[in-house]
Symmetry: C2
Subunit: 269 residues, 2 copies
Amino acid sequence: MQDIRIYLLDGGSLLLDGYHMYWNVGPGGPIRVPVCSVLVEHSDGLFLFDTGFDLDYVQREIPSEKPLQTTEQTIPGALARLGGQVGDISAVVNSHLHMDHVGANRFFPGATKICQKAEYERAANPYRFEVGAYGDLSFSAELARKQGREAQLKDGQTSQNTRFTLVEGDVELAKGLDLIFTPGHSAGHCSLLVTPEHRRPMLFPFDAAYSAHNMDQFIQGGYHSDPVAGEQSLQRLIDLAGASDAEVVFSHDPQSPHLNVVGDLLAVA
Amino acid sequence: MQDIRIYLLDGGSLLLDGYHMYWNVGPGGPIRVPVCSVLVEHSDGLFLFDTGFDLDYVQREIPSEKPLQTTEQTIPGALARLGGQVGDISAVVNSHLHMDHVGANRFFPGATKICQKAEYERAANPYRFEVGAYGDLSFSAELARKQGREAQLKDGQTSQNTRFTLVEGDVELAKGLDLIFTPGHSAGHCSLLVTPEHRRPMLFPFDAAYSAHNMDQFIQGGYHSDPVAGEQSLQRLIDLAGASDAEVVFSHDPQSPHLNVVGDLLAVA
């Protein structure tokens, strides 16, 4: 088996409230929160997990989150910096379909798109409190049309080239690449466990645990669909990290020790 | 049928964050929030709905909520002001068992105690994120002992005289007094609809809608057990208020038009 190479891609940042980061605990007040994606080079292909937010979308629809994103922090920019291009990506896997995880999906008409069935169905029929989170539907021509948001679609996006492969529960995407079903933050949220052959595993909780503080203190994010499921998912990730001795890498950690190596090689194994 | 008399009892106030009042919407920052109970004089007896918070408990366990409560704002104080005493109460009905709704239950060993079965069971086995909300267990000797909090019990409290009558779903407590099952804020939350013979009905959402702003803008509270159920309950209350032309009276509304008549007769019908 070829080496697995793992990159954390810095996708810019959003301004959230402390009660959004740390549900019922706070303290409140503005916190600038990074938004990261994960790129995995694997012998089966180049896998991109999450695609960040679209700067224009957030500036227009949620300006209160004061988005910051340089060209290098877009997914195409990050790939270019690493010497690749969007056409190299085999599969785009979305941990969930909230707007800060799908913003660059539209750049990958040729890639396989993967998410949980429960997540896709909820994005198609969100509860009222979820409508904003699922506000950027440019990842799916089918859903954008269904919700009357065709204007979000870019030239060339069709039902065909934005179609998802829907998976259910825990799924091995490729050898050493496991999706872990962790609902709660959203109806069909999943996390990622990478288990290289010659290195400590790496666990990416995505929004099941925004940051090390959330995991260490057992605090869910303030935005969620089901906090009971969220608590069970958080416990499952803690148990999994312990059992596998995984290094845990967060996507929304303002104090992430990985932020200064964002976009660089995290590990080769 | 005898007249129904309805009193809103002012139980003091707590300091919460705007994101606690208005989930995902805010704005953040401290808001002083009233805590009210409801007293209903009915030909079948004197019904007390919720019993506020215990000042000592909040000062000791959650000082960040900066509780304010005068003697007159305690339940015994409010009853005395109205010319009654705790022994007059026939039934104490708890909308749910969070600490700011059960604080004075212990004063009513002789009354029937009523709540939803789902609520009692959750208070007996809370999820981790709920442990604080169910932190004052002085309403039940059985639960206080189960959770190792016997120290919260006062002299004379026994399993027998703190036993609950558990109800399930919508229940008519007496003619014109209906509990409406509205889970979401907590596992077994219920609201109250009072339908007098000669007056507009009155709807008390309790924590299914903290305030008029929450109901008008369709915003759940930031603390909840199941926001999907909470959304359905909020919609149900809006529909019910519309269908019955009920006057809606809130228990946690900082801008309540009823606050200046708190403790006074709200309606005679």
